[in-house]
């Protein structure tokens, strides 16, 4: 703690230090470090089976870590049982109590805490209003739609005013419309309650639209932590670049400060000699018909448009270079697609800082 104060940093609300989890011989989570600051909305993003739920269950106290320690608000909670932790969880699959009404479900935690009837009544009404379920207070759980159940699960955790709210893919079962509506609600609730949310998802769009802090995981490891836009623009690994959005992967070799890409272009880039991998986001690629080219060669590639998809909010173009290298280009505005059609020869290039070098997979 003293170190952090000397360094002038805010002490994180949640800190995981070298936390790992093994199930017998299998490792669900390799040792990871993670810090979550108060008031942040952290999304944990990764493919199925990468250890997201394991991580959340470790924080909530349902599983004990094999190594490492967990601190919440400066207090070591590694061996603390879930009922004593200042966290609440919205479970994947909700886990609502089927023998209770909506209001009884939402009031369960306060009933357990032996709060007065009037306080429970008040706070249940208040929280149901927050998730817009006031009219359904007396309904049995079975008589709710999936989206309504999800909001009951959210209300049941929110009413406890946890220091940290843990959400395990709470929107996964919903259709797109409902999911987007719930994302908006979640953002609003996060702001209104001024809470700290840790949200697990395998949907990158969801992670980007909600979070101000993104944790990308793969195979039990954290690949990258950062602000969503930073992770998107500067992916650290090939996995992150591929998992987060569309990407072009350009391979090449570096010899004494000059990189030559297999697809052609050469440019200066400091670093150790040997094989290198760069990623290039499709929307940072510039494209124009080849006849417009100045006669001098540019730092790009010439090729032929293979495919052109209009996406409604833009166009996705596949360009094939002579040696068979393919490049995906995204244009935000369909008007720029005019004059571009399959079979047309084009030149593509990019700004120097559009290329991001990534570590080997």
């Amino acid at each position: 703690m003293s170190e952090a104060i000397r360094a002038g940093e805010a002490e994180p609300l949640l800190r995981l230090s070298a936390v790992s989890k093994r199930y017998g011989a299998a490792t669900a989570l390799h040792p990871i470090d993670l810090a979550v600051t108060k008031g942040s909305f952290t999304a944990i993003l990764g493919p199925s089976g990468c250890g997201k739920s394991t991580l959340l269950r470790l924080i909530a106290g349902f599983t004990e870590p094999s190594t490492g320690s967990i601190e919440i608000a400066g207090r070591d909670v590694t061996r603390l049982v879930p009922e004593k932790r200042p966290t609440n969880m919205v479970f994947q699959g909700y886990g609502l109590f089927p023998h209770m009404t909506v209001a009884e479900n939402v009031g369960f935690g306060l009933t357990i805490a032996r709060r007065s009837r009037s306080e429970i009544g008040e706070r249940v009404a208040e929280t149901l209003a927050l998730v817009r379920l006031e009219e359904l207070a007396g309904r049995p759980i079975q008589a709710l739609s999936g989206g309504q159940q999800q909001r009951v699960a959210l209300a049941r955790a929110l009413i406890m005013r946890p220091l940290i709210l843990l959400l395990d893919e709470p929107l996964a079962a919903l259709d797109l419309k409902l999911r987007q509506a719930m994302q908006t609600e979640l953002r609003r609730i996060h702001k209104e309650t001024n809470g700290t949310f840790v949200f697990v998802t395998h949907d990158q769009g969801e992670a980007f639209s909600l979070a101000d802090n993104l944790v990308v995981m793969n195979e039990g490891r954290i690949e990258q932590i950062g602000r969503p836009q930073d992770v998107y623009i500067r992916p650290k690994t090939l996995f992150v670049s591929q998992f987060v959005g569309d990407t072009n992967i350009l391979e090449g070799t570096r010899r004494s400060g000059v990189v030559e890409l297999a697809a052609g272009p050469r440019f200066a880039s400091a670093g150790p000699d040997g094989k290198v991998t760069f990623v290039l986001r499709p929307e940072t690629v510039r494209i124009r018909p080849a006849q417009d080219l100045p006669s001098s060669p540019i730092a790009g590639i010439t090729g032929t448009i293979e495919e052109l998809h209009l996406l409604g909010d833009g166009a996705r173009i596949t360009v094939t270079a002579p040696e068979g290298h393919q490049l995906i280009v995204r244009l935000p505005n369909p008007r720029f697609g005019d004059g571009l059609a399959p079979g047309i020869r084009v030149a593509v290039d990019w700004a120097d800082d559009a290329l991001t070098e990534v570590g080997a997979p």
Binding site: V81, M89, F91, G93, F97, A113, P140, A157
Partner: protein, 279 residues
């Protein structure tokens, strides 16, 4: 009535026919007999309530005792059965089903074998007394282990336990683990999770187990015959003798129907108390 409805009823007819032939008809006949009378070992049709009056005047306290003993057996089975089923469902992990299968295997021994085993354990020269004597805890065989209501209750509960475990286990299997996690997450102690989340979710199983054990115990007459001592202590023993040695069918039938009615009331009350009022 619509045509499909008629068809559906017609499809069910054979099943209900068998049920009526094998179950309802004999019961109805016996019910009629309970209002008849007997004169010099001969049944005389008629309508008289004498048999019922006799049931409650002669056997009144025994009637109550029988209900109490059956209730004790049923409660014992539900409590122990719940502990067992809970362990199989939440503690044994994936092998819970095998565990339950193992309890079914104990039924292969049969009913009389279990009674004789209890006799061998509880009698004055039985295993329990030999053990106590051998350890020097007593210097004379203890006589009150056997031939009383306690011994009958223990033996009946032992025999009926698997029938209680089954419905409770199947009810517990329908309780999602995640509801237990959610309750703990919301601050519930393990005890509160049990009382507020697990028990309410499996209460139909508990009531079913109670009903099965209660009904099986209330009509039993073999266990009290072997372990209950010289004088009969359960109504079933008298029902048997009314039908066989005394040839007083109206009395036996009236006792049976009184016991049935009382059992229905008990189970109805239990059902109302634990299930009926909710939802």
């Amino acid at each position: 009535m619509t045509a499909p409805a008629v068809k559906r009823i017609a499809a069910l007819a054979p099943a209900y026919g068998i049920l009526a032939g094998l179950f309802l008809v004999p019961i109805a006949l016996l019910f009629a007999v309970s209002f008849w009378s007997v004169r010099s070992f001969k049944l005389e049709p008629g309508f008289s309530l004498d048999a019922y009056i006799r049931t409650f005047t002669v056997y009144g306290s025994l009637f109550v005792w029988t209900l109490l003993m059956a209730a004790a057996v049923a409660i014992l089975c539900v409590v122990i059965g719940f502990i067992f089923a809970y362990g199989a469902r939440f503690r044994v992990g994936t092998h819970g089903d095998l565990f339950i299968l193992a309890t079914m295997i104990t039924l292969f021994g049969g009913y009389l074998v279990k009674i004789y085993s209890w006799k061998a354990i509880l009698s004055s020269n039985g295993i329990l007394n030999s053990l106590l004597l051998g350890l020097g805890l007593v210097d004379q065989p203890v006589g009150w282990f056997i031939f009383n209501r306690g011994a009958v209750i223990v033996a009946l509960a032992h025999f009926l336990l698997p029938f209680a475990i089954l419905p409770i286990y199947s009810a517990l299997r329908n309780v999602p683990d995640i509801t237990l996690d959610a309750a703990r997450d919301l601050g519930a102690s393990p005890w509160a999770v049990l009382v507020k989340v697990v028990l309410p979710q499996c209460r139909t199983g508990l009531v079913a187990a109670f009903a099965i054990c209660f009904l099986s115990a209330v009509g039993d007459y073999v266990t009290p015959m072997f372990l209950g001592g010289g004088s009969a202590i359960m109504l079933g023993q008298f029902i048997v003798s009314e039908f066989s040695t005394r040839f007083n069918w109206p009395s036996g039938a009236a006792m049976s129907f009184s016991l049935m009615g009382a059992s229905a009331l008990v189970i109805g009350a239990v059902w109302l108390a634990f299930i009926g009022r909710r939802r």
